[in-house]
């Protein structure tokens, strides 16, 4: 990057950051009077959830933010180049899937986590240690990654990805969302696997605890211009950094500029961590539309890797028999 470009980018980041804090912004309203969050948004970010070990401050300077982003983009590009990592099957950069080609939801933060103050997840609770041990046992019983569909990763199985959460997180690629509001509801469509959150705003009670969902069950309300969403009833099968079915997520969405939603969330799960933790992120306006992400319907990858694994085993067995025969 030339120094002129770098200066320009620093300026852009500075402007974006400063504007995001402007108190003068008046949030537009929907016809029924809700603060209007509608449109297409991206939460693609190079900012890690946890603060890197070698960083001790909460915010980068604009120049440091540019440098950190540049380094992260270079790492991402290197990691997704075929041949550099064992399981890279196509070049993300070539297909426009790397973050540097997305609308980046930039901030100057060094980590999304703001509480605990060190920007790291809190210590694992005693119960959390037991949960992790039990999970490791269960994973062992499932066998190796290529032993069955079920022993593979959730994203490779097209069941759920990182985007929809809650909390909604950078999904590595296609971190795009569409928000549509109607009286009494906010709907958030996640591009990845077309996952939809329909959040009722009418104060209805949470369903019984025996109804469990991958994305939990969300209830929302407006506190001034802030949409507050509480989610419980998770099935715990898609852990967020270890979370369990007892997780409670509180999200706060507030539009602070035409192109920016402040997105803060708190995760409370005593079954994993000794204390709740909170993060601050942003969603940045991006160009629509979202495309249909028919993941499962086109999942040749899972099928082919399982076929490949079984063929490899047959081949090894045949080779072994041949070696025995020749002795």
């Amino acid at each position: 990057m030339t120094s002129t470009k770098a200066t320009a980018l620093i300026f852009v980041i500075f402007v974006v950051f400063v504007r995001a804090q402007s108190p003068a912004y008046k949030v537009p309203r929907t016809p029924d009077g809700q603060p209007d969050l509608q449109g297409f948004w991206s939460n693609a970010t190079y900012t890690p959830l946890e603060r890197p070990d070698n960083v001790t401050k909460e915010f980068y300077t604009p120049a440091e933010a540019v440098a950190a982003e540049k380094a992260a983009a270079a790492r991402e590009s290197a990691e997704t180049e075929p041949g550099t990592v064992a399981d890279v099957h196509y070049d993300f950069t070539q297909f426009g899937l790397d973050r540097s080609q997305a609308t980046l939801a930039r901030t100057l933060r060094t980590s999304l986590i703001v509480d605990p103050k060190n920007g790291k997840l809190p210590p694992i609770s005693e119960e959390g240690k037991r949960v992790l041990a039990a999970r490791a046992e269960a994973a062992k019983r499932l066998g190796g990654r290529w032993d069955s569909a079920q022993s593979n990763q959730l994203d490779d199985r097209c069941i759920i990805m990182a985007g929809p959460g809650p909390p909604m997180m950078d999904a590595a690629y296609n971190s795009n969302y569409q928000i549509v509001q109607a009286p009494g509801y906010v709907m958030i469509l996640t591009e990845m696997i077309h996952d939809v959150r329909i959040i009722p705003l009418d104060g209805r009670p949470q369903p019984p605890s025996n109804v469990r969902q991958w994305m939990g069950i969300s209830r929302g309300r407006w506190e001034g211009d802030t949409l507050v969403v509480e989610t419980t009833n998770f099935n715990g099968k898609n852990p967020l950094r270890g979370s369990t079915e007892n997780m409670k997520v509180i999200e706060r969405l507030r539009r602070v500029a035409d192109d920016t939603i402040e997105y803060n969330f708190t995760v409370d799960d005593k079954s994993m961590w000794v204390q709740p933790w909170s993060a601050e992120a942003v969603m940045r306006k991006t160009n629509g539309p979202l495309f249909e992400h028919a993941c499962h319907e086109g999942n040749y990858g899972l099928y082919n890797t399982l076929v490949g694994a079984r063929r490899e085993e047959q081949q090894k067995a045949a080779d072994g028999a041949a070696t025995k025969d020749s002795k």
Partner: protein, 271 residues
């Protein structure tokens, strides 16, 4: 005199019948004006569901046994009078042959069995609710089955950028009706569990028209010159899920079909 009186009665009867028929055919309850959304458009917001047997077969059909022995009566097919205008789909001879092959191999070929996206209009009358979230630029149809979702563009309308399962929908208001024009389909979805199918030339025009506080008329015109000899129509009412706690829940069926689709590729203990 008596004869003339009878004639008058008959004429009156015929007029009444014709009026009733017109009411049925136009499907829009005359004079019904839907409550308005905050922007003044008819308010279609809500959770809706079809109550009929179109998901089994959009044509008229008798009751039939379950295709899966173990499910017994629980998996059997309830009879239905069909939802297709004129009763029978106007297939070309080759397409009819393919429909019958589809039907005979339903368990192997029906995309629903594999938890694939349902396509349109099938999504609307599957035995799952869907929610309409109606805004000015976008009207969302969010289906419980497989989390299928459609964005209906009321503004910024474009041609389909690529073929897809749920197609590319542009909408407009015509009086009390939401009229949705959808193209850009792939040729992989079906109309029902009986093998009725379409090609990638499918063009669907749907009309959602309120007929009372808690019912909509759903009318569909289907055009597909590669499969049918002429356009055809289907229609049915949709019913509001009026439970106070009604909500779209997750039916994330991918994990339910993994053993069906990939079970034969599981590593055997002996290996």
């Amino acid at each position: 005199m008596r004869n003339r009186f009878l004639t008058r009665m008959t004429v009156a009867g015929i007029v009444t019948c014709v009026a009733a028929a017109v009411t049925l055919v136009t499907a829009q309850t005359p004079g019904y004006r839907a409550p308005r959304a905050p922007d003044g458009k008819p308010n279609l917001n809500g959770i809706w569901q079809a109550i009929n047997t179109a998901s089994y077969d959009i044509e008229a059909h008798s009751a039939a046994p379950s295709p899966v022995l173990e499910l017994g009566a629980a998996g059997a097919v309830p009879a239905g009078l069909g939802v297709v205008d004129g009763g029978t789909l106007p297939y070309t001879p080759e397409a009819l042959k393919k429909r019958n092959e589809n039907r005979a191999n339903r368990l192997k070929l029906d995309p629903e069995v594999k938890c694939y996206l349902p396509g349109v209009p099938r999504a609307t009358y599957m035995p799952y609710p869907f929610q309409i979230i109606q805004s000015q630029k976008h009207v969302m149809l969010v289906h419980e089955y497989a989390g299928a979702v459609r964005t209906i563009y009321m503004a910024d309308q474009t041609e389909a950028p690529a073929d897809s399962w749920m197609g590319w929908s542009n909408g407009k208001w015509e009086g009390e009706s939401l009229v949705v024009d959808t193209k850009g389909f792939n040729d992989l979805s079906w109309f029902d569990r009986s093998g009725n199918f379409h090609s990638d030339a499918l063009h669907v025009v749907e009309r959602f028209t309120p007929r009372s506080a808690d019912t909509l008329n759903y009318e569909v015109t289907v055009e597909d010159s590669k499969v049918f000899t002429r356009p055809w129509k289907m229609s049915m009412p949709l019913y509001r899920r009026v439970e106070a706690n009604a909500q779209i829940l997750e039916f994330r069926c991918v994990e339910f079909v993994e053993d069906l689709l990939y079970g034969h590729l599981r590593k055997q203990p002996s290996q």
